[in-house]
Symmetry: C2
Subunit: 919 residues, 2 copies
């Protein structure tokens, strides 16, 4: 921290010579600053300077730089010597342009607005003081100059109230019910009109005059000092309040949350007042240059006639759509449309602006890039390219990657949602909307789906045994588990809608009922879940798939003709042009592979072979293998599994059409495959012809205290090498079949959970031997790679040794996060909330890569791995592969590809393209 500060200081000195420039003025087409100077001038100040430079009508003013803020805190809340003089020059410049005088008690007095302005807009800081410069003398001058007694006293009353509140700190104290200034107004209205419903703008000049007197008394009573009459004292007080607010609690919490360094500091903007409240030919408004909801190319916003800016957002009067300005203030509206074009052309992005019309003349008070939905972003970008406002690279950058999946999700009709009753909420784990009859068991869910029912699988938690039910269901609802729980993981991979961890949902497996929101639902009753919002509704709500899914995956011609679809395809083409970082997919079936390829995946980054063991009667052979007492029996059972695995791999290779496939050998602890209830154990015993007690004994034997850290991954195949042997044989025999049929194959065999180079060496020996044997037996040749997951910290720090045996590394960041942090994602529910509230986790580390900790281990592994094997292939196959900021990190780390679930492929491609273009 100390270092950064010093660097900033010396930079400031260097930039400014001996006497530092602390005040940057703008007005009348000229400005000291410009739009690129956000670090020094803050976002608001830089854009005001920029708008001035490009000839837009901006009331003159000046910015006190963020360096003054730094000075302020480094020097016991004092200011640099030369500041006051520079501010005087700033005011003089405004006076010259406006033709008014600051504190003029004779002619029109120059009034100013004072606003904070950090590099990024930051809630929690002092916002605005308007009408500064008024006092008992200037208020009279204003009244005279405008010939509007009521307007002048209204301004003065507003000013004392605002200044008293945000600068002097006259605010509600603990135990008080109302803001003190509001209390005074209420009392006055009550005693004068016996009516506290009268609105402030209905108060007369005399009312406001009386209120000014009472406000001043309140300030004196509360602060012990009189309200400052000197405009300069007011101005310095306001600037001090802005700087002071940089270190208030809310601002500190916000900065910590978003990782904004305290050294950045805030700027202060002082700007000549223009008045939207001088009459029917004046007004104020806010607008987007295009529709931020759907992206339509139209001015979009709200305005009020005869009002100051705060009135538009305060909600006392209902504002009108900005298009109505065409009638109410036609000249100003025309001007605003011109400004809109200029702004978009200049900023090459949709802008969010504030403006005021004083006596028919438009003034711009702020501009910034507008926030938008994913749909709007897609259309903005596509349209602006067509309009030649921007090029395709800029278009890629204008689409927020973390929102892209909104475009893929089916949605509930808004009207349906309004009618529906929300009965619970949970974590939004699989975006989209789904309605269906609830089933509490995978078999019954699958059976109902077979009969053509729309099904919602509802479970306390899901496990691999629920897979059939999950496949059959429209959506999955769980009452326990986080965004990385089995349900969430599988749902995302399959693109299923999912709400998980909905703790308000009480599930009774025995009675087959679900209680939620005070109602009891039986199996077969309808529930609806919104996996984007995490909400659960009673009853059925209609949904529709997005045009993009319909067009890409289901090849729906009508969908393919929509603008949204075409814009999306266009965007993905641009991404392909931009990026070097490949995107692969985590997929276990040919169907998933096809979906991912439709989304542009370049291959498979992770096939989890164990998922294949749950289908049909394979699970029996698998269980037989686990229960085997010796190698011979184990080999017998493995022999039964071999043809199934070979067939699976063949299907996957075929679907890949020559793209590479990273296949992970068996990973989970064996007990996951065994039945855990007495009935299931009995059933299995009967099938295998052993005693139920035998099965129970083996289940108990396989029990682990911490299965995550137990006998799994390559540890299984070190104990039982014949498992690796069978899997390698299945992979290579499938590859051989492909070659014979003229299908190109690139298998990449991946050994999981390697922490010691020797583990990989032993496994590699088996895999190479089997490859040689298969090629010889089948008389074909094919290329293949052998590599490993880096998913325990020891693997990362000994990556140099491991790379001796690995042709590729794939970072398994799910497990690497668990081990690096010492946190089980299945158990973190009990403290995740307090960890986020206390700003320990900036984000859930299983959703977005912990770049500081886990990322550091990855850096070490990359450096060490490349040290041994310069061209080692590097990828990531944890869930983070579909998270935009994690993808950016992977790009910077120099990985060759990221891999994510099929439905995250577009997000990853966009993030990868953006990372590449950012360089």
């Amino acid at each position: 921290m100390a270092k950064k500060k010093a660097a900033k200081k010396s930079a400031a000195k260097k930039a400014s010579g001996n006497s530092t420039k602390y005040v940057y003025t703008w007005g009348d087409g000229k400005a000291d600053g410009n739009g690129s100077m956000k670090p020094l001038l803050g976002g608001k100040g830089a854009n005001l300077a920029e708008m001035t430079r490009i000839g837009l009508p901006v009331p003159p003013g000046f910015t006190i730089t963020t360096e003054v803020c730094t000075y302020f805190y480094d020097n016991k809340r004092t200011y640099p010597k030369s500041l006051h003089q520079q501010m005087e020059a700033g005011i003089a410049n405004m006076e010259k342009i406006m033709g008014y005088k600051f504190g003029d008690a004779e002619g029109f007095p120059l009034l100013v607005a004072v606003r904070s302005g950090a590099r990024d807009s930051m809630p929690g800081m002092m916002d605005t003081v308007l009408n500064l410069g008024l006092n008992d003398a200037t208020v009279a001058a204003l009244a005279k100059a405008t010939d509007n007694e009521r307007f002048a006293w209204d301004c003065y009353r507003r000013f004392i109230q605002m200044y008293g509140d945000v600068v002097l700190g006259v605010q509600k104290r603990p135990g008080e019910d109302h803001e003190p200034f509001e209390e005074v107004i209420e009392a006055y209205k009550h005693e004068t009109y016996s009516n506290k419903d009268i609105i402030d703008s209905e108060l007369t000049a005399e009312d406001n005059q009386e209120l000014v007197a009472r406000f001043k008394k309140l300030v004196k009573d509360r602060t012990g000092h009189s309200f400052p009459e000197s405009p300069w004292e007011q101005l310095e007080g306001a600037a001090g309040a802005v700087f002071g607010s940089w270190m208030n609690d809310r601002a500190i919490v916000y900065r910590r949350k978003y990782g904004i360094p305290a050294e950045w500091g805030t700027a202060v903007n002082v700007q000549a007042m223009v008045f939207g409240n001088t009459g029917e030919n004046s007004g104020s408004g806010v607008a987007f240059t295009r529709n931020p909801a759907n992206g339509d190319n139209e001015l979009y916003g709200e305005f009020l006639v005869n009002a100051q800016g705060e009135d538009v957002v305060a909600g006392v009067r209902t504002p009108f759509p900005v298009v109505d300005m065409a009638k109410a203030l036609p000249a100003a509206y025309k001007e605003l449309l011109k400004v809109r074009k200029i702004l978009e052309k200049h900023y090459k992005d949709v802008q969010d602006v504030e403006f005021t019309i004083q006596d028919g003349k438009l003034f711009m008070l702020q501009t910034r890039n507008g926030k938008r939905t994913a749909a709007a972003a897609l259309k903005f970008a596509a349209d602006m390219v067509k309009e030649k406002l921007i090029d395709w690279k800029k278009a890629v950058q204008l689409n927020p990657a973390d929102q892209l999946d909104q475009l893929l999700a089916p949605v509930f009709d808004a009207a349906e949602v309004k009618k529906a009753k929300q009965v619970a909420s949970g974590l939004p784990a699989g975006p989209g909307a789904a309605s269906g009859k609830i089933y509490l068991n995978a078999d019954r869910a699958a059976a109902a789906a077979d009969k053509g029912e729309k099904v919602l699988l509802v479970r306390v938690e899901t496990s691999p045994e629920d897979l059939r039910g999950m496949i059959a269901a429209e959506g999955i609802l769980t009452s326990r588990g986080g965004v990385s729980s089995h349900a969430a993981l599988v749902a995302r991979q399959m693109g299923k809608v999912c709400v998980c961890g909905a703790s308000g949902v009480e599930i009774d497996y025995h009675k087959k009922t679900v209680k939620a929101g005070g109602k009891t639902f039986k199996e077969g009753d309808f529930l609806s879940i919104d996996g984007t919002a995490g909400t659960v509704y009673g009853g059925e709500l209609k949904t529709a798939p997005s045009e993009i899914i319909a067009g890409l995956v289901k090849n729906n011609k009508a969908a393919q003709k929509t603008e949204k679809f075409q814009d999306f395809v266009q965007l993905m083409e641009w991404c392909a042009k931009a990026t070097k970082l490949g995107v692969r997919t985590n997929a276990d079936t040919p169907e998933q592979v096809k979906t991912a390829i439709a989304f542009g995946a370049e291959g498979i980054g992770l096939t989890r072979t164990e998922h294949m063991f749950f289908e049909g009667d394979r699970i029996d052979a698998m269980r037989e293998m686990i229960l085997a007492e010796n190698e011979d029996d184990r080999r017998k059972a493995l022999k039964k599994l071999l043809p199934h695995q070979r067939k699976d791999f063949f299907g996957i290779f075929k679907a890949l059409e020559g793209r590479p496939a990273t296949i992970r050998l068996l990973d989970p602890p064996l007990h996951e495959f065994l039945p855990h209830t007495k009935d299931q154990q009995k059933e299995l015993a009967a099938k295998l012809g052993v005693k139920p007690a035998e099965i129970q004994r083996r289940v108990e034997e396989l029990h682990e205290f911490n299965p995550m850290l137990g006998h799994r991954g390559c540890r299984l195949a070190i104990s039982y090498p014949e498992i690796a042997e069978m899997q390698a044989q299945a992979i290579f025999e499938a590859a051989a079949q492909c070659v014979k049929k003229g299908i190109e194959v690139h298998p990449e065999v991946m050994v999981p959970l390697v922490g010691y180079a020797r583990e990989l060496q032993l496994q590699t020996e088996i895999i190479h031997r089997v490859a040689k044997e298969v090629m010889k037996a089948k008389d074909v040749k094919f290329k293949y790679l052998v590599g490993t997951m880096i998913e325990v910290p020891r693997g990362a720090v000994t990556a140099d040794e491991i790379a001796e045996h690995a042709q590729f590394f794939s970072f398994g960041t799910n497990d690497l996060t668990q081990t690096a942090l010492g946190v089980s994602r299945d158990d973190m529910g009990s403290f995740l909330n307090s960890y986020q509230e206390n700003d320990i986790y900036p984000q859930n580390p299983f959703a977005s890569l912990d770049q500081t900790g886990v990322g550091e281990l990855m850096k070490i592994a990359v450096a060490k791995g490349k040290g041994t094997r310069r061209n080692i292939k590097l990828g990531i196959c944890g869930e983070h592969g579909g998270d935009p900021s994690s993808v950016t990190f992977c790009h910077e780390l120099g990985l060759n590809y990221v891999s994510c679930s099929p439905y995250r492929v577009p997000v990853a491609r966009l993030a990868a393209a953006q990372a590449a273009l950012a360089k």
Copy 2:
């Protein structure tokens, strides 16, 4: 690897100029090499040169260097050009000294022995070929020169057999029952004497002549080549066999196991034969210069008259104690006693020698440092200092640290063991010997001990609830769990004897019986366990505590007068002089503290506060705290715990007498404190006045899939800050009490399981606040530190950030190993064996620090921690703190202290001293 090789090559070139010296001769008081040249000459060769230099009678010879071995493997098993010429010079030198000629068919032929000799002695390599140089011509010359036909043909027969076996590979084939040469002898004895019990030395010259003929035929049949008659061909064949054996399977496995690089290579030693088998004035023997079992200052070994060296170890004839040489070969014996003195004085260590007497003259064939027991080492070192043979530094280094705890363990009387029946075996988890009546439950064990019974606690596994029973027991026997299981850990900390994971022991809690070795033992029956060997005996065996424990801990005056005790105390004093690395202890009670201090601990490195919550009725308050539904109820329960904790800390501070105490805040997951059986839950419910279902619900709620990675450590106190608050209050109030009573205190408050700097920051704020409050309330001042465990990899790689808030780091290497490797020590039993057999784990990583992986993380943490806080205090408090090689690593890492269980303190002190002296 390639790098190391290149470095070695260039070093060799550099050392030797253009023509490299490959052959180093010795003999007649002169030698090319010396004892420090083990890397080049191997251990045997270097010591033969050294013995020659110091004037001992060594038959002349030469060493072919390890560089030739490297050349051999780098050049397709060929030799450097100049080698043969250098060997010729070597042989010429021997001929000159001996007055014989190699291959002389006229006079006495020079015969040689060829032996391998790596840097460290290494089983699995070719050992010895004797009598090389004999052929049909020289055997006749030998017979003539010695006038002993039988002797000459016996030598020749032995030579062909040895050479045929180890050089020509005429060995037993798969399916054969006997060695082929033995087969020939058996057949000959049978057909000639109809008696195969006749021994080889009874065979006549003619018998041997016939056998030579038959052996030669066997060689021809098996190899397709005639037996080499040329002595030079024989010599080169033998040298090639030595080099070849460097890469045989057994040697490779051994090197991998002990981390010996293949590049070291082996040397070949060629030495003139001397004959112990020429008659009654000749003989061979092996000896230690002192007794390696008990350390007595006496020559200790065995010899045989009229025998070659192999005869002594072959076991065909029973050798005599070496002291008997005084009668049998008095002159040679006197000479040997002289040699003994010279060797010890020269090598400054006890030597293990081989010798041969030929016609009354003594020849030394080998010397090396002797292996010894801990007791012998202690006495050797102490005596040799008294004799002024060595200084105290050397004495410290002569004691093997990893054996020191042998000195502390009580032992079974050897006679008792012989009579006893071994019924099972398990892991030697707590060294020592214990007999007692078995109890299968902690309460019954404690009750029996209260009645004065000697008790052995027998459990499937132990948990913190068994603590009372473990304290009460003489020893602990478990049928499940490894050397790092709860039972083992607590046993070592308490110095209890423990055998764990004795899978042959079947425990029936219901019937209160233990089945082992086919017998059933009921509660109250005696069992005996040897925790040094891991054996379990039926019945009672007598034990005695070691003199050292008795003297140091029990202050037994008689024990203190023993030589062993005094030597030990002396050794510990030397250690204190040598070392900078401090040794602290892991202790939870004043008794443990006192024990550790008696062993020389400098303070506490780890107090686990949670152990304190199990005593008496505290567990009820603890459970009440856990079951609390809100902060108020939690605080109420914590208030009950406060006085207990305060009292505990006061007791510990008092016992420490001013030494520092690192106190870890609550660490384990809460469910560990709750009862898990229905009955216990009912009982607790009654006590707390809640429904049993309520308790069951909470237990289920607290269930975790991977508790090791769950809601524990500082995560608890982040969720419930009031826990940290109470513990800090207890610590600081106890400190305040001490200060008032004039007792010096140095509390060091340690926050567990920190992975994020912000976690520590939040905890630190609480601790500092409470410290300030207590000092103010009690009106005293004391110094204290706040620091953290580094026990998850993220903590290590972000140590720079964490050090902003930590005044010290203590490496929790138990958990750091679990998380870095992704291995649960409680679950590793299922693959530990295969991991050790496959040379993946060189050692159990929970017993000896994984320096490559976990150590790398520690290095990163030390560098980053010091980067932020130059003088940060660094320690280790994992079980590794008591493991010698781990202590050495900690010394090299620059830690300030290691901490281990009280009974490991001497081991750690010795290891620390040795590490310091090694620099």
